[in-house]
């Protein structure tokens, strides 16, 4: 079953050009130049029930705008979207009870109070029955290891603990669809990993459809099979993440450390030079030539150490964004 379907969805923002200075401000009273940004440009995709899809893109690509439209916060300029057969921006209560959104840069918990208070508010708002509420809290306390911080003021929590509580607040009503906007932003590596593990497990156990945006590659690589890459408002890739890697990882990265100083021009024939620093060089070599060239390097130069790596996913994505400019 299809949980989310988006057809030719567009969002334009209008704003007026600001002219600096007093005279400019005066002039703009009478005459203003209207500018339009196309934040999302006619995108289409659909997500199956239970799928965990990653939304990738640089800042300002249109990820958050898309999520906001799917949550009913924003009206689209054009196009259509259905989530669980509801049109999000009609903001029907029936729909609102079945989804949740978590935004890493904003918090919905009461700052000066323990998270538990915010949970009980959400319990009433979403009309969660008492016993289910209790069970859910227990479940999350165990899973996220937060039972001892539920009664601590939110402002005294670390960023990671706070994000865990944000997630619980959003999941209390057991939503069928979950939008996660940069859930790991600003967290340290360990906390990031914990949040990721939780999302993965939760998706598996509850079969919740999750749409996740992030600009941390690790989030997407670890969590999602399918990735939608968006840049400048348009979708530039939608599909399996492994296929993406296969398609673009046509090169390997070879890092060599020499015993003596080496002149750079001796290496240009062997591959594209990424970095060069007298005794250390990083080369990008096409897959089919790696073996052969490695042998040549080892025999022709005084090699101290040689490393052959896959191209990082970050590199691939960066490459895609650059070629799409």
């Amino acid at each position: 079953m299809i949980a989310i379907s988006v057809k030719n969805l567009s969002k334009n923002f209008e704003y007026y050009k600001k002219v600096p200075g007093l005279f400019g401000a005066f002039k703009s009273l009478f005459q203003r130049e209207k500018l339009i940004t196309e934040a999302v440009k006619s995108i289409s995709f659909s997500v199956e029930e239970g799928e965990l899809v990653g939304f990738l893109g640089p800042n300002g690509a249109g990820k958050t705008t898309t999520l906001k439209m799917l949550s009913g916060i924003l009206y689209p300029s054009e196009g259509d979207a259905k989530v669980l057969d509801y049109t999000p921006w009609q903001r029907q209560k029936e729909y609102q009870k079945q989804f949740a959104i978590v935004m890493g840069q904003k918090n919905q918990l009461w700052w000066d109070l323990p998270a538990m208070e915010s949970f009980s508010l959400n319990k009433e708002i979403y009309e969660v029955p008492n016993d289910q509420f209790k069970k859910t809290i227990d479940y999350f306390s165990n899973l996220l290891d937060i039972s001892d911080i539920l009664n601590v003021q939110v402002r005294k929590l670390s960023l990671g603990q706070r994000m865990k509580c944000e997630l619980v607040a959003a999941l209390l009503h057991n939503p069928k669809v979950l939008f996660l906007d940069e859930p790991t932003i600003g967290l340290d590596v360990v906390s990031q990993q914990k949040i990721r593990e939780f999302i993965k497990k939760y998706n598996k156990e509850r079969k919740t459809t999750i749409l996740l945006t992030s600009h941390y590659m690790e989030d997407v690589v670890q969590l999602c099979q399918r990735v939608i890459i968006i840049n400048k408002g348009g979708i530039i890739y939608d599909g399996d993440i492994q296929r993406l890697i296969d398609q673009y990882a046509t090169h390997k990265i070879v890092t060599i450390t020499f015993k003596n100083d080496i002149a750079v021009d001796q290496l240009t024939l062997l591959g594209e030079i990424v970095e060069f620093d007298k005794r250390r060089v990083v080369l990008k070599i096409p897959d089919q030539n790696v073996k052969e060239n490695a042998v040549r390097i080892l025999t022709a130069f005084p090699v101290d150490d040689i490393l052959i790596d896959e191209i990082k996913v970050e590199e691939i994505i960066r490459h895609i964004f650059q070629t799409n400019k």
């Binding site: 923002f13 209008e14 934040a39 949550s71 916060i73 921006w89 989804f99 904003k106 708002i125 979403y126």
Partner: protein, 263 residues
Amino acid sequence: MKKYLKIIWIFSKVNLQNQMAYRPSFFLAVLGKATRMLILILLFRVIYFNTPLLAGWEYKDVFLLAITYLTVESTILTTFHRNLSYYLPDLLKKGDFDFLLTKPLNPLFYSSFRIIDLMDLTSSSLVIFLWYYYFTHYASAFSFLSFILYLILLGFGLIFLFSLLVIFASSAFWTINATGLGRFFEDIIRTGRFPTDVFKGAFSFLFLYVFPIATIATVPSKAFLGTTNWPYYVYLVVFTFILTLISKKVWNYALKHYSSASS
């Protein structure tokens, strides 16, 4: 309905905890608010120290007017006034209004009652004492019916203020720094603490019909004291009804604007 009452209960409980966390400020605030109420009474005392009548009102009647005004003021301060005037612009500024739109709860309800101010509720106990004082010292015989009428008129006054404030607050969706409007609103409301009979001519018309500040205290107090004006009540009902409709339209328009313009 039950859900909404429950949520108001949580809002009050939560805010009490919040404010009690800063105990010295809490007690000083309650003290200050109570003093502010007494200062209104003091102001009238000083005025009547120098004159026996103010626009036909005796002191004991003005006392009723003053406590009526204080009752209305406490009610809106405890509930929606600050929510709409100050906290809503703040929500919009921080972008947290987004969450409100995703919840199965009326956004206007949420924006209006999110923070129930227990400081004001605490200081309102003084209003109860003033009512007690009024009944034991000044009140002459009054009919049960006029009391009912008084309450109904008070209700219309509150609806008038709420609708007005919703219209004011909607502007926050365009100009994020709309806190000046809140202060302005407070000052406008404060004109209601004097009998509107002091105004003559065009001003009298203004405060009775165009911008019926008289509904806050003067009109209900007069009804309580037995002076009724039925044609005016009809006008008031129609006026409040139309203003409420307008405020609803304006609010929806503002929400629509938010959803199509914010980023």
